[in-house]
Symmetry: D3
Subunit: 238 residues, 6 copies
């Protein structure tokens, strides 16, 4: 039995509030149960040095967590003077995932920064961030397009992410913190709405796992991402 009483393939309730931030070109407060992440998309009309003059744009991400988003207070990274390895790993993953579905040439020579800040954490913050980032990015691109029509849609594909794992010997979908901290195997999947895999990260926390388990978790992830895709569309009004 899962601590939350959910069935193995049952996700937590998803909520996506578009336009949560007054200033950002695109934004979304995404909630996977008690995990709440605010994503803002900021557009700048310039790209990093290595891209200048090439006509292509860039999408990048930064990730942070409020010190008391978690059960016990963590120290503030700005005060410690550096971002942890975990933070850097996550923000690199978010950036790669969104770039995988963005046509940077159609975007044109501008950069969009996706700031993903965890307001409250209950497991799955990186996958919630990716899922909400798509909404913020979609809205930001719509904002750009309204002001300066683009030649085509740079974001024709949806991307979403979910974590699955083996809890008490059973593969389950959308781990919350209680499950995540006890799971034997933990895997994050980043999938597209066109049946593609963008990223798979599976880790054996205890015993190594087998191919069969990997495939089972992937199938659960598809179930979950399909629900996220629907929530994304609803949030952006399509």
């Amino acid at each position: 039995m899962r601590p939350s009483g959910r069935t193995p393939d049952q996700m937590r309730s998803i909520e996506m509030i578009p336009g949560f931030s007054a200033h950002a070109e695109g934004s979304c407060l995404v909630k996977f149960g008690q995990t709440h992440v605010l994503v803002t998309a900021s557009v700048e009309e310039r790209v990093p040095p290595w891209l200048r003059g090439g006509g292509k744009g860039w999408v990048t991400a930064e990730y942070g967590m409020l010190p008391r988003a978690t059960h016990t207070r963590g120290s503030r990274e700005a005060a410690k003077g550096k971002q942890s390895g975990r933070t850097q790993e996550i923000q690199r993953l978010i950036g790669r995932s969104l770039r995988a579905v963005t046509d940077l040439t159609l975007l044109g020579e501008r950069q969009i920064t996706l700031d993903c800040d965890v307001i409250q954490a209950d497991g799955g913050t990186r996958t919630a961030a990716i899922s909400g980032a798509w909404v913020a990015l979609r809205l930001a691109i719509d904002t750009i397009h309204k002001a300066t029509p683009l030649a085509g849609d740079p974001l024709a594909t949806q991307v979403a992410a979910i974590s699955c794992g083996v809890y008490n010997g059973t593969p389950v979908l959308d781990l919350d913190y209680a499950e995540d901290s006890a799971a034997g195997t933990d895997a994050n999947f980043v999938l597209t709405n066109k049946a593609g895999i963008v990223e798979v990260q599976g880790t054996a926390e205890g015993e190594p796992f087998d191919e069969e388990t990997l495939l089972r978790l992937l199938r659960l992830a598809r179930i979950g991402c399909n629900q996220v895709f629907a929530a994304q569309l609803q949030a952006v009004g399509r």
Copy 2:
């Protein structure tokens, strides 16, 4: 005329949502108009080294701003590797202000950290933070008291803060961003509900000001803080 159409002694609407965070011992999302600050109070049963064994507690604060809380995106302090002078100045002010109304001996040998994170900024973030921090601190002390009754209330006095300034030659209450960036004189007041002044910080941005102006701004601040005191009481259910 003020950009917002407010009268000189009119505050923005105040909203204080207690218990906003699921994990913190006390928390408050405070809104002064479009300025939104989340304050969490985290209790630890240990104090900084210089206080150990003395039987007294400690209250401290940290301050941060989400990169896109502002009109244009600011860089993330955790990524830059250090907190700005402005951030440090503000968090020192918040800590001093709350300690001024806390009886650290009654609190006992424990530390409460007030994390003030600006979700959205429209001027007056430090004064909103102080005002909301009182609510979070009040709730955290109530949480402590419920678990381990204290000998007396360490927080018998309320503290609140507000910024005033001279806009277009007229002293006005509760500056928003449009006013703040154009104000000739800008003053932050931290006041108690017992008519005391905890902190005054007045700065001439352009022309130096005179004693009369300082007094006029102080009087406006009293008007504003009285409204904040009422909102605080309502938020903590007293």
Copy 3:
């Protein structure tokens, strides 16, 4: 009774040695009793990026304290790898205070950096620094004017600063370290020789204070600053 035997409105002896440094365009060793601060003014014929091409100049300040300027040795900020919040707060205050009396357009597109280094500390280092910085700045502007006549005097107004506080229940002028560490209320005032207030920073270290006290401290500050203004004129030979 004050530890030094001074009357409540009596300042420590002031000494200002202009041209203390052989290399700087302007310099002053300022002594408020046992507090000794060396201020140098360095002129550069270029301004920070955000001012370039606008024809206006800039005045900025940096503050430091020798490790053994104080009763017990403090650690060296260069060795720790960062400036404390206190240091940053002070150097921002010094910069603001001097800019408040400088006509940056008359100064022209050049920057003057005021380095304020505490050689010996006995309370009031920031206010001594501001007071001495005016002398160093005055001399640096004279140096510029001799080489390249300016259209007008960018520094037509004097600025000085002094700390006041409530010691043993009595408002007193120019706190030394013994008083400062015991004072109930501590206020720094930055005033001009034309009766203007540039900055007020009043803090209740213990009990909150009232409006009457604030005004009383302000009046003491005027008495003190008038003496500093006279010493400044003497130091620059006017």
Copy 4:
């Protein structure tokens, strides 16, 4: 055709030189073709604070690359003052992978640090590092056991890693730099000699990939790791 002329399921030549370092308790210079990584295992008779007194040991890893290990010189992380996100991600992966096959209770309250330094890089440095780290760890545990017999072998299982990818549309084994920089999909697999999966990290660099591709790459990885397992046994003389 692969740039190196290898068949799709052909690895580069593997060389593992045990005891390369004179000082370390265990060491191995591992070569996957032109990728050369020196791994040393250092034993300390103390564990990190959070493990003290629990009777369990710890295995951790650090990763570095000589500035000119690569085609063009990279800047030195020690000179830049911080480790990149990539470095931190890799060293976390190496540590997790080796811990997955180590019985920390049998190891006893001591820490083994695996330093993986890339002397020369031609793709696949992280997987070579993991593969060589097993040899260094094996030798270090043997050294401990000789001095102080352990109750059982803490390292009864082998772990190895290999990267696979889709190059020019074809799944291939053991990517070199020329392939890695052009690959459409890139996946690192960490496998045990008992058919278990410790870690899967698959990333679509261009087009998303499908389940079939993931499985194909996993099968190639098994072929490669089996060769690495044999080389490991030979290196440690078993």
Copy 5:
């Protein structure tokens, strides 16, 4: 001809003002012509971790330069966030030099920190610092001895330093900035009053030099150090 008109073996005027600092256990403002260095000696009744419990003391040094000690302003190391290689090299040299003449066992388990801060620079700051540090250390040890008599004098030998160099083809004593920046060879000598060499650092800035030159510079250094020894004795009143 030397820019200053001095003869090749003529030092600049030396001035050593003992007790310059009100707070330090020992201090000295040392002037070699226009090079002015303030040295303070701070005594702590504890030693670094690796010496604890061994009954021996420690002497260490830190070095700094005020930003405008030089002809053009240098950036402040505290603001840059790190000490330069030059600073670290110099403070290591000062520490080694003073430890070479200190009996750490007689000193007992306490640490003396020598802070050497350059108030004004005109060449030879490190050698002036070492020479003045002996005076500050002597006075600090006298202070300790007065409070807690030591079994013997830990500082029975004097140490001094001077820079020599080849200027316009002629070996000269005590380089000032004009000579130092043009010298072909530059050598710093740290000598004792008992004819011993503590440190030699000779560097060819242009052409390599020969053994004869090295010896000639050493002889000049003896001439100079003898004058410094006399000044030291006078400063400490012996």
Copy 6:
């Protein structure tokens, strides 16, 4: 007797493996007994800002040590976030030494960076680094010359370095770690093959030394460097 059984003027066996690195324009693995240093020379067709447009080139060095190059593991400088004073001192010395024999005008407006990484340490790493750096630099200049003929040879002179010291009262050549850690006096000499001295650094670890000892050590250094010069020529095939 020396721990290694060598005679006082006997060097350890020298080995210099040119072209050790596949990617660098010049490289050398230099071994002085059990001290192994890998030096790579990287050519960039641009110089530091202060040299741009002047037609002159630059040679600089960086130094590092693998964490377990030594008997006990040292912490990784990249992880600590800064280079130690020792590291900076050594890399400045290497850079100066190689520039002393390089005609920067003949080199042309390009920079060569010499990365000296200690793979294994047994005393004398800085002198081995300098000696091997000449080989790497020679090979890199040959590489440049082959691609773009230079007007003349920028490296007409050889430079080498060796450490000498007083061990058990006897001056000895080429200290290994066992001697270095026990030596009373330690001196590093950087010499040219044309009888010139580039750098002398002599330090009394215990008792100060005298002129006679300095000269004796210098003579030993000449003996040692002559052997290094021969090994260098052999390594570069001249």
